[in-house]
Amino acid sequence: MNPVTDLIKSLADQHGRSRHNLLPILQGVVEQEKYLSEYSMIEIARELDLPASEVYGTATFYSFLEYKKMGRYIIRICKTITCSMKGKNQVLLAIQDMLKIGVGETTPDGTFSLLQTNCLGFCHKAPAMLVNNEVFTDLTPEKVREILRMYMNKKKEGGSYDN
């Protein structure tokens, strides 16, 4: 059986199978898989006896529930005004230049995905970004290159999936 199916079953066992248990299950799948595939959503719908469209509607509503295939490390750079004023564009250019991907894209080796996000609440330490669940602040092009290099090495060493 597909490992996602097992994951969904165990998440449903853990959280319950009512309509209101949908969200924690979606989050659980995203945590493991980084995104919700068509297959996962169908399996979740089946497990909870919900219409597949409803699962899709819920998943697309939330910014942190991805429904397109994502890389191992999802970079979310803050797109709001304070970060922009503090040089977010230069940081973004540095990321794009280093990874050779645009916003919304994933590197061919599946290591990084680059996204923009709404305010992270770190205006006082702008510009800010997230890599999976880790926050990085006071970014500069040099600093961000350093961070990305660290993640690249982590991947080479076969580091853990979390963060």
């Binding site: 068509e38 959503m41 169908i42 719908a45 089946r46 219409p51 597949a52 469209s53 409803e54 699962v55 899709y56 509607g57 697309t60 509503f61 429904y67």
Partner: protein
Amino acid sequence: MVKKIKISINGIFVEVEDGTTILDAARKAGVIIPTLCFHKDLCIAGNCRVCVVEVAGQKRLAAACATPCEEEMEIFTNSLNVLHSRKQIIELLLSEHNADCTSCFKNGNCELQKLASDYKILKQDFIRLVPFKNYTIDKYSPSIIKDDSKCIRCQRCVRTCAELQGVNALTVAYKGDLMKITTFFEKPMNDVVCSTCGQCINHCPTGALVERNYIEKVWDAISDKTKHVVVQTAPAVRVGLGEELGLGQGVRVTGKMVAALKRLGFDAVMDTDFTADLTIMEEGTELLMRLKAVLVDHDPAVKLPMATSCSPGWIKYIEHLFPDYLDHLSTCKSPQQMFGALAKTYYAKARNLDPETIVSVSIMPCTAKKFEAARPEMHDSGYRDVDYVLTTRELAIMIKQAGIDFMKLDDMHFDRLMGESTGAAVIFGATGGVMEAALRTVYELVTGRDVPFENLNITPVRGMDGVKEASIKIENPLKEWAFLDGVELKCAVAHGLVNAKKVMDSIISGQANYHFIEFMACPGGCLGGGGQPIPTSPEIRLKRAKAIYAEDEGMPLRKSHQNPEIIKIYKDFLGKPLSEKSHHLLHTQYTARKRY
């Protein structure tokens, strides 16, 4: 005893029951408040804000559809504040709406267009957002076209699909300015669980959801001298067409409809009611055979309860949601498809026509019939059994295009051979009708006596309850049906797919022990179908149902097996019900489909 409260609307005092919304109270006081996302069939959404009113002492305007009245409330529905706000709300809705009205199928029958006209939105202060959005038009379904550029996101279709039909093919996805009405993974409607019932079309206030129309194709066929164009009309069309042509709700126009079709140039105007009678002969016999197989032979391969198969929306629904229960469906084709198969065989032979030259058109209250006619297996005559399906609305458009003064037409009769019908056939158009028609014939077939209800009116299966039950005890049957002596025939009727699901769930759980169930996809049966006049509401459907039963009472023959043309077709062509020829032409099989 519900508490009464006193309120005033524009200075008019009214007494209403506690809990009444401002909208309902205003209607009671004779004050009209415009609405858009509100629909009597559906739960309250309160998202369009068109119905805002001013409440004395409150700073913000209240949505009349979603605000209950309170004691001594002072409401103003046409203050300057309200009028300005309402106008601005309509302008905002229009800024996101592709208002290319003259090239829209709903032109002239659009609620948003009417609001824009009533409030005279002559200039557009807001930036038109339509050109900036990447809209798609979904044209893959043979029944339904979905154009997102005309969608104002009132979610009436989503609520319809969930509340009335329990299908949930449509959903709300994304948020904020990106929010849209779509399907699972934005697939075409044709690739998801959509039953093609068309209720979303009936409830859409704009042209975002419309039927795929075949008007031009039918005009082409009519004007082609080498083609012989045969048309059939479904039972519910005769109580809906008048409404679409402005004659009022629940008006019967059978004779005028026939006359109009002849004026349009159809070569033969015949009746789906004829094949409805034929359906009863086939389906009734099938039921008796199944009863015998189960009760006497204990054949495990034969399944009870038997479910009717006339409603193509219901068929597609069960194929998607309960693919393990397809054995319960009667193998009978729907009356439309029976007619189609016979038009290019029986009719062609009798009239000495080459079936190749026959174009078979049907007028249906239904959009799922378009899907049904396009099913690949529906070519048992050797040709496409039904070439084009038009809705009641499309027929009305053709009548207007042809410049026919419908009111002035003299009543005419259907053409012979497949035009005769009984009262049992016409009630196919109302929920419970197929059941009633089947019982009238089956009971008489088994006992030799009339069904034991006054004037043949089997009232327990009539009315608008979502699920209806009836049972008839069979006593003193004829000799060949002796095994049915004392058997209580248990029947159920469900209309609206959300009710169909309830019945299916009770069968699966083993709670129900019915023998025979009638399922209709649409609320009220075919008379509330997705191809019927817009608007629809419980009251309108009730009026149409009354007209259907009046038509039945007025028929000289009211039992399918008495139809002389039915007797003739069995004598001349089919042999007997469930004969080999019937099996070939009139019966079908079903396809299991994916639920997700």
